[in-house]
Amino acid sequence: MRVFALPSMSLRFVPVWRRNLLVWRKLAVPSLLGNLADPLIYVLGLGYGLGSMLPQVGGVPYIAFLAAGMVCSSTMNSATFEAMYSAFSRMHVQRTWDAIMNAPLDLDDVVLAELVWAASKSVLSGAAILAVVWLLGLTHSLLSLWVLALVPLVGLAFGALALAVTAMARSYDFFMYYFTLVITPMSLLCGVFFPIDQLPATFQAIAAFLPLTHAVAIARPLLLGEIPGYAALHVLVLLAYAAAGFYAASVLFRRRLLK
């Protein structure tokens, strides 16, 4: 059955990615501000505000602890937003996908382009926060440069999951379910704002399966100047979420658009 076939991946997605890039360039400044402002406020507000009341957290000042979490969290939010609201606008409201598929491009090419684009936008987000981290002197290690390699992987994982949600959405309102039931809980359970071992055992067990946990488990040691333990495992979990999400999105989009 064509619906369940593995998605074909080819460089045909590139012109679609370029199209999105061209649109973004026209709106680059407000977009960058938006990507940067939110996590920056969290880092500064909570980092200095709470941080001044807290002893060291995880062996470092709270603001340094938090910054690592915010890099991952902002990457997640950016990729999710792009693969949901923006992709839905293109697919359903503007009918851009229909126009593209009248050309010699398949639905698989369009979905792959959307995924890579969501990951690309999230790289901007994560990199911007990382730059702030450096500027504030919250990290002193060259290992922190590896976070730039982590960020696209996180973007792919969450972009893929979000695309699967977009494939099921009838309207923008549907996305609230995903934010409320998945994204927000993940932000609180996965070690972004406080160490996971503060959670009850059950929640720690749940957190172990969530992709954000694995992202933070790589980012935080790197920013603190240590090599993450079980790095390969964490990377594999993120890759697995990216692959599973992409496959689910492909199947769901085919069922939705190719009937």
Binding site: L27, A99, A103, D106
Partner: protein, 293 residues
């Protein structure tokens, strides 16, 4: 060698058969029309031919490639003007053409070279840098047509190209389509305007409720066809046979004795004509001669 050949196409949605056994062959350089009311299955037939949906039955060959198996490759030489404009609202007129050309893996220089003549063709040369929102409906449709030509296609699908346009805009589009036909391009268009079909199409098929009911040549009679099967076109117009006329003759005249090839009845005895009155789409259209040419 047909640019598009369909045989026994079937498609159902939710238990209802939307396309119920459509077959046709289209020769290069021809303008072929699918005429019918809304809901007749015209757009679905187009989407089947493009490989955008899978048929429940039947086979399609587009540019001599099987569809949907090789649909994507077949679309390299195809242009599509959809019913709803799906231009990029974030881009200018020129950027829309540029971005679309990239989807065909055309070299950047080739695309940029093609844009000015296309804008000229569409009458939008002065609006190259305009945002889409500032264009009128007719301009957007012309831009969509220009966009469909960026890859210099051999075959162009047009889904209701002039629906929603004012008369002047419609005439502009018709002129452009005639120019394209004069260049040797093949056009398949769907419409619910009889006038448009007769103006542009060498052959047309009337569809109703998923079924093609009759295949006609608007200005001359065609060879005889049965109501459910279609014959391949040779691309040449046949000479008018006896009884082949453009308009329905008054009942009682000799010409009215020529049977309608769909219902096989003479009009004044046809239950369809008596039900639908003199406005039965079959008999008020061009008449069909029973004899083969």
């Amino acid at each position: 060698m047909a640019v598009l050949a369909a045989s026994g196409l079937r498609k159902s949605y939710g238990g209802e058969e939307v396309v119920a056994g459509v077959s046709f062959g289209i020769a290069p350089g021809e303008c072929f029309g699918l005429l019918g009311p809304n809901g007749a299955g015209k757009t679905t037939t187009l989407r089947l031919c493009l490989g955008l949906v899978d048929p429940d039955g039947g086979s399609i060959e587009l540019m001599q490639r099987p569809v949907p198996g090789e649909a994507r490759r077949a679309r390299v030489r195809v242009g599509v003007v959809p019913q709803m404009d799906n231009l990029d609202p974030d881009f200018t007129v020129e950027e829309n053409l540029l971005v679309y050309g990239r989807y065909f893996s055309l070299p950047e220089r080739t695309i940029r070279e093609r844009i000015p003549p296309l804008l000229e063709f569409a009458g939008l040369a002065a609006r190259a840098a305009s945002r889409i929102q500032t264009l009128s409906g007719g301009m957007k449709r012309r831009l969509t047509l220009a966009r469909a030509l960026i890859n210099d296609p051999d075959l162009i699908f047009m889904d209701e190209p002039t629906t929603g346009l004012d008369p002047q805009a419609r005439h502009l589009i018709w002129e452009r389509l005639k120019q394209l036909l004069a260049q040797g391009k093949t056009i398949v268009l769907t419409t619910h305007f009889m006038e448009e079909a007769e103006r542009l199409c060498a052959r047309l098929a009337i569809m109703d409720r998923g079924l093609p009911s009759v295949m006609k040549r608007p200005r001359s009679s065609s060879h005889g066809t049965s109501s459910r099967t279609w014959s391949r076109s040779t691309g040449t117009a046949s000479r008018p046979g006896p009884g082949g006329r453009r308009f329905r003759s008054p009942p009682g005249s000799r010409e009215a004795a020529t049977p309608c090839s769909a219902t096989r009845r003479i009009p004044r005895r046809c239950s369809r004509a008596s039900r639908d009155g003199p406005n039965c789409a079959i008999c008020t259209g061009p008449r069909i001669s029973k004899t083969s040419s």
